[in-house]
């Protein structure tokens, strides 16, 4: 067989074989529909993604549907596949993806868009939706980037907006029913699908533009097509489908551990944060459900580490009840607990003692900005005292390493705010020596890690321009010049990839041409530093005749029609405007638990602890 010969020539062939323990096996000849769940990045990254695990499980709960996994082959494997004319295949049956009924592609980050196109190409599927007849699978996109997937609009048949556990099975059921009744055609199916909440069919809308290049309107082509597509949510997280076992990779992946989701949404409302808006309203799982799910997965996987996922774990209302429940059995079974996404203001000694990962490695907090003024403007609502107290707790608990995350280039930022970043680094170093319980004879290591601000759709800063490359570079160099203390380490994220991310994040349909050009230039794996090429991106924009700055570096008007206005995430544009205006006055907004800010997400319904009834 061709594949077996190829696999001997590539690195880590275990990425391409499937056959892992926990993989779902069904009789493909008895299926009413087959779904290829594609993750446009490597096996190691995709297999660590909880969303994929949940949807693989949820779709496979349908007895007559088989969902299989597909990942991006790495360049060495891709070259072999092209050379030997082996089309992209799914891991469970090794069947070509083009034979499936659906190809579902998860869009986790903008820089994976080139991989999306290369996957289609490898699958021998025409890139443009308009070039595909009935013989090809329905191409459906989902995940966080689907909230504004306009740059991919020309390549996809439909986008699933919001949470997919219930929506995707509904979509597949509609397809099967239409096929069975003989009423199916791709066109009829997509039209019908557009009537179901959470499905956006880009080809059913006519987009017009103003002479200045901004969007004029999104007009449905038919009266029955909704003018706004509302996202889907799971109303009751305790009843949401969650895997009872995981597929167990043979090769090492990014996270080989149990990942358990504790709640969705966030009470905080940081003004740069997209996740904090699109996953609203906040919905918690109860501690009993979390505990029994973790236990069940532990018994079925044998993993010895549990990671509790959420946007801010210390905001979980019943965290101590949950950790108590977990600790009744995890310690005895030698299972470690780890809690990512800790907030400095709610970090406690008690919490630190409970999480074993803290005992092993350093701690990370995210002040995001260097001065109280800017932290108010971005609505971070963390004080310097709280950050220092949290670091001090860590030092007292035997830590010597602390990492602080910042964002540079935030709206309203001045050089005073950048001075504040280095000042905070020094303050944390001093905090170490002030602590009588610190590890004696050691020096602290404080890492200041700076990302670049990227304006994202559905945030209060969605209208803001990203700083130019020059301005960001200058700020980075300025901060680097300010830090001379050896105990303070400074690292920063590349400005160039941040610019591409900004352009794609706020892009409209016209960027499909850029992505097409990018594919022609052979670009892929742009999220990987070793593969990213800014020069090639510049070339792709130039070839398509599109100005990158229009999307990345332009302040959009508050009254402008935005490409993503077609999507309703629950949180209203009015609320975001209010937040935008408050940010210009450096005014913060209380979190949901303190006082409802009227974001509008309560209109979505659901079991939500703080939202007033709509």
């Amino acid at each position: 067989m061709e594949l077996s010969r190829i696999l001997k020539k590539v690195l880590k062939p275990g990425r391409y074989t499937g056959g892992e323990y926990g993989q779902i096996i069904k009789d493909k000849t008895k299926m009413a529909a087959r779904f290829a769940f594609c993750f446009p990045d490597s096996y190691e990254i995709g297999m660590s993604n909880l969303g994929m695990r949940i949807l693989y499980h949820a779709i496979n709960l349908m007895p007559d549907v088989y969902c299989e996994r597909v990942f991006s082959p790495l360049p060495d494997m891709e070259a072999q596949m092209r050379e030997n004319k082996l089309p992209l295949f799914a891991l469970e049956t090794l069947d070509p993806v083009k034979e499936f009924d659906f190809m579902g592609i998860t869009l986790q980050y903008e820089l994976c868009y080139t991989n999306v196109l290369s996957m289609l190409e490898l699958a021998e599927i025409p890139l443009y939706a308009r070039d595909r007849d009935e013989s090809f699978p329905i191409i459906v996109g989902g995940g966080p980037c689907a909230y504004n997937a306009e740059p991919l609009a020309d390549f996809f048949d439909v986008f699933s907006i919001g949470e997919g556990e219930e929506a995707l099975p509904e979509m597949i059921r509609l397809y099967i029913d239409m096929k069975k009744s003989g009423s199916y055609s791709k066109e009829k199916f997509l039209r019908e699908l557009s009537h179901i909440e959470g499905f956006y069919v880009p080809s059913l809308y006519e987009v017009s533009y103003n002479s200045d290049g901004t969007v004029k309107a999104y007009a449905p082509k038919y009266p029955d097509v909704p003018s706004v597509v509302r996202k889907r949510i799971i109303k009751d997280m305790d009843k949401a489908p969650f895997p009872d076992k995981f597929v167990m990779p043979y090769i090492e992946t990014v996270h080989d551990r149990i990942t358990e989701e504790v709640y969705r949404g966030c009470i905080r409302g940081c003004r740069f944060c997209q996740a904090g808006m699109i996953y609203r309203p906040i919905r918690e799982k109860s501690p009993d459900v979390v505990n029994s799910q973790v236990k069940c997965i532990y018994e079925n996987t044998g993993y010895d580490e549990v990671s509790l996922l959420s946007l801010s774990i210390s905001d979980y209302t019943r965290l101590s009840e949950l950790t108590e429940k977990l600790l009744t059995w995890t310690d005895g079974e030698k299972v470690n607990l780890s809690l990512p996404s800790l907030r400095a203001d709610t970090f406690s000694k008690e919490l630190m003692d409970r999480i074993s990962s803290v005992r092993q490695s350093g701690l990370t907090f995210a002040p995001e900005a260097g001065t109280p003024r800017l932290r108010d403007a971005i609505n971070k609502n963390v004080t310097e005292e709280e950050i220092l107290r949290a670091c001090s707790l860590a030092f007292g608990g035997g830590k010597t390493n602390v990492k602080l995350y910042f964002i540079m280039g935030l709206p309203t930022e001045t050089y005073e705010d950048i001075d504040g970043i280095s000042a905070m680094g020094s303050a944390v170093v001093n905090e170490f020596y002030k602590n009588p319980n610190r590890v004696k004879g050691r020096h602290p290591q404080v890492t200041l890690s700076c990302a670049c601000f990227i304006p994202k759709p559905f945030t209060a800063f969605q209208w803001d321009a990203q700083d130019s490359l020059e301005a960001l570079n200058e700020k980075q160099q300025y901060l680097r010049g300010k830090i001379s203390d050896k105990r303070v380490k400074y690292n920063y994220h590349g400005v160039k990839s941040s610019r591409i991310e900004a352009a794609l994040a706020r892009g409209d349909r016209r960027l499909s041409a850029v992505l097409y050009e990018a594919r022609k230039l052979g670009m892929e794996f742009d999220a990987w530093d070793e593969h990213f090429s800014y020069e090639k991106w510049e070339q792709a924009f130039k070839n398509a005749g599109i100005d990158m700055g229009f999307y990345a570096n332009r302040a959009m008007g508050l009254d402008e029609v935005l490409p993503w206005d077609i999507i309703d995430i629950g949180v209203t544009k009015e609320f975001l405007k209010r937040e935008y205006k408050k940010s210009r006055e450096s005014l913060s907004t209380p979190n949901c638990r303190e006082k409802c800010a009227g974001c509008g997400a309560n209109r979505m319904g659901g079991v939500t602890p703080w939202c007033p009834k709509a």
Binding site: R5, K8, G19, Y21, M248, I251, N300, T301, G302
Partner: protein, 212 residues
């Protein structure tokens, strides 16, 4: 209970040929946990379960006969361990036997392999075995040197179905990778990159008895 040694005999077949020995070791610990095998943990600073493989299996080689020794601290019958492990593995990692070992891994002297996919005649085999078998080997310093592997080849038989059975040295210092032998065999009939399947069949002790 005093930790008791248990030997697990298993097959590694199919897609698992692409999984390296290191990756297999890494996935064995969670598999033992989900199989609820009462493993004995080392008592050091970083306790870990004691698991010892007879020998690593080279990448792309399958096996009908691999050995893994563990130590258990609760009384569970070998039959029960076998049942639980079969559940905790896929069919491509199939447990054939579980028992209390008597032979020691250090007694292993030879391993038998089946090689298919290289077209040779009985005459070719005879020719290969009649003199030295020289292969190039890269030393640790990176330099290439030519060595004779003939002394590590105990027997080679060509079956009527075209499959080559060979017995190669497998004791620590004398170990011969079957892939090197297969390449040498293919090279002797003018094949550069053989696309062959290799399967480990069984093991022998120095006295010629089957290792168990």
């Amino acid at each position: 209970m005093v930790p008791e040694s248990i030997r697990i005999m298993f097959q590694k077949t199919g897609r698992l040929r692409y999984i390296s020995h290191l990756d297999l070791c890494r996935t064995m610990q969670p598999a033992m946990i989900r199989a609820r095998i009462p493993l004995w943990y080392t008592e050091g600073f970083n306790p870990h379960p004691k698991m010892v493989f007879a020998q690593p299996l080279p990448l792309f080689v399958t096996s009908k006969c691999e050995f893994l020794d563990i130590k258990i601290v609760e009384d569970v019958s070998c039959e029960e361990i076998k049942r639980r492990l079969r559940e905790a593995f896929t069919d491509e990692l199939y447990v054939t036997d579980v028992y209390k070992p008597t032979d020691k891994f250090t007694e292993i002297a030879y391993a038998e392999y089946e090689i298919s996919g290289i077209a040779v005649t009985a005459q070719d085999v005879k020719g290969l075995l009649s003199g030295s078998i020289e292969v190039k080997k890269r030393t640790k310093s990176g330099a290439e040197k030519v060595i004779d592997i003939r002394p590590q080849v105990r027997s080679v038989t060509l079956r009527p179905d075209g499959v080559i059975e060979c017995v190669l040295s497998a004791s620590g210092s004398e170990y011969l990778n079957p892939d090197i032998f297969a390449k040498a065999l293919a090279a002797s009939v003018g094949i550069e990159e053989p696309d062959c399947d290799i399967t480990r069949i069984k093991w022998y002790k120095a006295d010629g008895n089957v290792f168990k």
